[in-house]
């Protein structure tokens, strides 16, 4: 496959903080429609990688390309989103003083320019879509409540909902099931699986059961670089991965 | 009460009377002449006083110097009851400690309203200074001699030159010797011997004094008829070189002085900002009453001075802890009654503390009136440290620079080294979690705010030495202090230090060029531009946590 066909292509990324290398010459790529799981010890650099892709952190060296010919490193956060990258943060961040509904409305795909948002109205289809997502994330009953009144797990869901509204080509999902009950985890995996195919999805998670339930290709990061790659079984059997990550 | 003490004094007064009677008999004719001339001072006009002083010095009496110095320093009085003239130890005290002008021995004391001061005016003081200088040449104190020589070199007549020559022969102090030789060289320039003049120019070229430079520059002038004032071309050449060299040195020293001005302005800025760096920078309270807390400190200085008029010298040292306590307690009071309900709502603190600032202003206006209060600069803080003829540093500024550094180091130490410092930082970052870790957040909050407020009070003590002590004192500094804190990076003490200092120095470097107003505007614009480059100040908080805001 040529590089052009990749959805996301990271090459030789290095990020250091005060001399500490959070990413160390990291290279990886994501195919269109692929669901990629990234695992790795705490501090391996998973979140940092997402920061680089979304423009939050600028790497010291390396390249990051998205779709056909978007150089992520030269784009602003807003441009990256406009190009089709969506993200769920590790620490759930929703707009605390907007209602659940408004949180979703803002995430709604479509115009982002100042003058257009001034005139934007919610079309019936969009309204339906929001209601649908509200159902999916189990917050229909709380649609008019403020973001700040949600419990931790509910915020997680709202973030996922916002991601759905955005309908990006590439979804970066950082620890989606932290703090969820087994059943919710199950629902999340169904959700993510249904998204894959049309979207590229990158999931970071520490819950191995969850990862196993969705994983096709798995990449293991350690100390800022890839140490193993392959399907779940292969990775789980890798002695290095067992040593630094899985344990016995 | 009063009658008792009067009664107690009677025997003393009698004794004194007896003593003075005996002394009258012991007077020599010289004493008598002296006393009668002295007596004329009582009624004379200012211009007459000058000639009386001249006659006094001609009596050659041994007390002349002391009496004239006293006149110069407003310490010469006469007693209303018997018109007798006395020197007093310190002016404006009550009662006055008297010194007999003849014997120069203590002569008891007298209530101030029973004595009348013998006044002076500008021109009289000018004459007196010259006269006293002649006498001071023999003083045991080298500094006094130095001043005397300097004073004398401003008007060099034959008599003065002779006196200086005589002194040079016996003078041991090298500084004084140098000053005398400069004075003599200056007088030589008027002479006819061109070799001697050349020699004098050489001597003078080492000096950096403006007077010397002006005198040398005169050699280069042309008289109205087109000829040079100085006939000898060689002397002219030497003089031109000397003038140039003096100018160069003077420019150099004045640059150093400007730098010092900058640092001293900077330390004032730092001092007014440190307290805010705590209340605002660390605790996040937009403390609009910060200025008023400084004002309280300044008023405390005033009150302390009023309470101990006899010890002005140490009053400032007493005022520092007192101001810390007063402002600190006010801070604790504010925190306990208002601020504590507003954590997590920083903008509300702006509103409430603004209200407090109005209350405090009006409070001092009610107590102390709207008028400024006079805070005295103690002797040890006034005057300047003269490094050479071109460079002097004023003591009060010097002390303030040092003081600022001391306060700053103390605060840094508290924050970095003490338990309280750690607790303060923890509470300011996450109050709920700090509680869960067993920190008594309420106490820490009160202490922190009190500390910031107390430091503001201490800054007020320093300000009382520089500017008006009035109800508006705080208003004039509040904006500056916020700028310093923000420029340095909120929450970073070192930032406030470097920020304040660099703002001060920039301001002062620019001021001679473009004037005070434009310099200030420039500093403000520079601040705005700087923030564009570093949106979180000089020393921004770093790392992930800082970004997630």
């Amino acid at each position: 496959m040529s590089a052009r066909d990749k959805k996301l292509e990271l090459e030789g990324l290095t990020v250091s903080f005060d001399g500490f290398k959070a990413l160390n010459n990291l290279t990886l790529s994501v195919d269109p429609g692929e669901l990629l799981c990234i695992i790795g010890p705490n501090g391996a650099g998973k979140t940092t990688m997402m920061d680089v892709v979304t423009g939050k952190t600028r790497p010291d060296s390396g390249t990051a390309r998205f779709g056909s010919g978007n150089n992520l490193l030269e784009m602003s956060e807003a441009e990256i989103v406009a190009a089709g990258v969506g993200r769920k943060f590790q620490k759930p961040t929703v707009f605390e003083r907007l209602t659940v509904f408004e949180n979703l409305e803002l995430a709604l795909a479509g115009t982002r320019s100042v003058l257009k948002t001034l005139r934007a109205r919610i079309s019936p289809e969009q309204d339906n879509r929001i209601n649908e997502v509200l159902g999916t994330i189990g917050l229909s009953g709380r649609r008019f409540e403020l973001g700040s009144t949600l419990a931790h797990g509910q915020k997680q869901w709202l973030e996922i909902g916002m991601l759905l509204m955005q309908d990006p080509e590439l979804l970066l999902v950082d620890e989606p099931v932290a703090g969820m009950t087994p059943q919710e985890i199950e629902r999340t995996s169904e959700l993510l699986l249904s998204l894959a195919g049309e979207h590229s999805v990158v999931v970071v998670e520490h819950d191995m059961n969850f990862v196993r339930s969705i994983a096709r290709r798995v990449i293991v990061l350690h100390e800022g670089r890839v140490i193993a790659e392959g399907d779940m079984d292969k990775v789980q059997g890798d002695p290095k991965v067992i040593e630094v990550y899985l344990g016995v | 009460m009063r009658r008792f003490s009067m009664g107690g004094q009677w025997p003393l007064v009698l004794l004194l009377a007896v003593a003075s009677v005996t002394r009258i008999y012991a007077q020599s004719p010289k004493d008598a002449a002296f006393l009668s001339v002295l007596g004329e001072l009582r009624e004379a006009s200012y211009s007459d006083k000058a000639s009386i002083a001249e006659r006094l010095s001609q009596t050659g009496h041994s007390s002349v110097r002391v009496v004239l110095t006293a006149l110069l320093e407003d310490r010469l009085y006469y007693r209303n009851s018997d018109q007798k003239v006395f020197v007093v130890k310190t002016a404006d005290a009550d009662p006055l400690a008297l010194i007999d002008p003849l014997s120069l021995k203590a002569a008891g004391s007298a209530p101030a309203d029973g004595m009348t001061k013998i006044g002076t005016n500008n021109s009289l003081r000018h004459t007196l200074k010259m006269t006293v200088a002649h006498f001071s040449l023999g003083s045991a104190d080298a500094a006094v001699r130095l001043d005397a020589v300097h004073e004398m070199s401003l008007s060099l007549d034959e008599e003065t030159v002779a006196l200086l020559r005589k002194r040079l022969a016996v003078e041991t102090n090298s500084g004084v010797r140098k000053e005398i030789s400069i004075a003599l060289a200056l007088s030589t320039l008027d002479g006819s011997d061109s070799r001697a003049r050349l020699q004098a120019v050489a001597t003078l070229s080492d000096s950096v004094s403006q007077d010397v430079r002006n005198r040398l520059a005169l050699l280069l002038d042309k008289s109205p008829d087109g000829t040079f004032v100085e006939s000898d071309a060689k002397v002219r050449q030497a003089a031109a070189a000397a003038v140039e060299s003096i100018d160069r040195w003077r420019t150099f020293y004045s640059d150093i002085q400007t730098l010092f001005f900058g640092l001293s302005l900077g330390s004032v800025l730092v001092l007014i900002a440190i307290g805010l760096a705590i209340t605002f920078g660390v605790m996040g309270v937009i403390n609009m009453a910060h200025g008023e807390l400084m004002m309280l400190g300044a008023y405390t200085t005033y009150v302390v001075q009023t309470a101990m008029p006899e010890h002005i010298g140490i009053s400032i040292l007493v005022a520092i802890p007192a101001a810390f306590a007063v402002s600190g307690l006010m801070g604790v009071l504010m925190e306990r009654t208002i601020i504590r309900y507003l954590y997590g709502r920083p903008l509300e603190t702006l509103l409430a503390t603004f209200g407090v600032s109005l209350l405090l202003q009006q409070l001092v206006r009610s107590i102390f009136t709207a008028l400024n209060r006079s805070v005295i600069t103690p002797d040890w803080m006034s005057g300047e440290l003269k490094l050479n003829d071109a460079l002097s540093i004023t003591y009060n500024r010097l002390y303030i620079v040092i003081f600022t550094l001391i306060v700053f180091s103390a605060i840094v130490a508290v924050f970095k080294r003490t338990r309280l410092g750690l607790d303060i930082r923890a509470v300011s970052q996450n109050r709920a979690m700090a509680k869960a870790m067993g920190i008594r957040t309420e106490w820490v909050d009160a202490m922190t705010f009190g500390l910031g407020a107390g430091i503001a009070g201490v800054a007020g003590v320093a300000l009382s030495q520089l500017t008006n002590v009035g109800p508006d004192l705080g208003q004039s500094y509040i904006i500056d202090s916020f700028m310093v804190v923000v420029f340095g990076g909120v929450g970073n003490l070192w930032g406030s230090l470097i920020g304040g200092m660099s703002m001060g120095v920039t301001n002062k470097l620019l001021e001679p060029w473009i004037g005070a107003v434009l310099a200030k505007i420039f500093v403000l614009v520079a601040l705005i531009l700087f923030i564009q480059v570093r949106p979180r100040g000089l020393f921004p908080p770093r790392g992930r946590a800082a970004e997630d805001k």
Partner: protein, 233 residues
């Protein structure tokens, strides 16, 4: 003897009633696991115990002391360690300073961070001088647990301690909890969603549903029915 007793606690966020007459008894030396779906009030209950949320009515007693009357900071001094949900690290303090915070109230006046913390979480030793806020999510979680342990508490409260932590360390945390419980008699109250972990670590359980206690008992009684009834959506 019970170490912690929660008695008919009611709690409100403004107008919304979050906890309804909740009872909870944590016997000394036990490992109680509080369970429930998202938003059911687990965190709220823990915050009430810590004094970070005021209770409307009801009683909370710890070791015979009435906690409701105690200021929040007093409770830590009584020997309750708290690992909150979301870590709540002091982000601008270094790792070392984060750990030192707890030293201030230790009765024995210890001046140094117990070495034990570092043997439990070696990564903290490596990062002593890094700002807490810069750590990765999992590292912060370890720091949060370490920070609570510095207090040498008799009751350790953990709110979803394994969230975001790599599997081998999750396992280790389980071990640590068990070990501290066994060797030092530490009583543990934790919130946990992951059933395998809960079953492995806890000795009792209690389920909250919509702010009410709906089930409780020894961990063995946490049957699939209970799970289906109260823990699935």
């Amino acid at each position: 003897m019970s170490m912690l007793t929660v008695n008919a606690v009611n709690h409100f966020y403004g107008g919304s009633h979050t906890l309804w007459d909740v009872d909870l008894t944590v016997p000394a030396g036990s490992r109680m696991c509080l369970m429930g779906r998202n938003g059911m009030g687990k965190t709220t209950l823990l915050r009430c115990i810590m004094g970070l949320q005021p209770v409307r009515s009801g009683g909370i007693a710890f070791d015979g002391t009435d906690l409701v009357k105690c200021a929040a900071e007093q409770r830590a001094r009584l020997g309750i360690g708290y690992v909150p949900q979301g870590r709540e690290i002091f982000s601008q303090l270094t790792v070392e300073e984060n750990l030192r915070i707890g030293l201030g109230i230790r009765k024995n006046g210890a001046r140094n961070i117990p070495e034990r913390i570092f043997s439990l979480f070696p990564v903290l030793k490596k990062m002593l001088n890094r700002r807490g806020g810069d750590l990765s999510g999992g590292q912060q979680q370890q720091l949060a647990i370490g920070r609570a342990l510095v207090l040498e508490p008799t009751l350790l409260i953990l709110d979803e301690p394994t969230e975001g932590i790599q599997p081998n360390i999750v396992h280790e945390i389980g071990d640590i909890i068990l070990r501290l419980n066994k060797e030092e008699g530490l009583t543990v109250l934790l919130v946990e969603q992951k059933l395998p972990f809960a079953r492995r670590v806890a000795s009792e359980f209690c389920v909250l549903d919509k702010g009410r206690r709906v089930a409780a008992g020894p961990i063995g009684e946490l049957t699939d029915e209970v799970v289906r009834a109260h823990l699935s959506v």
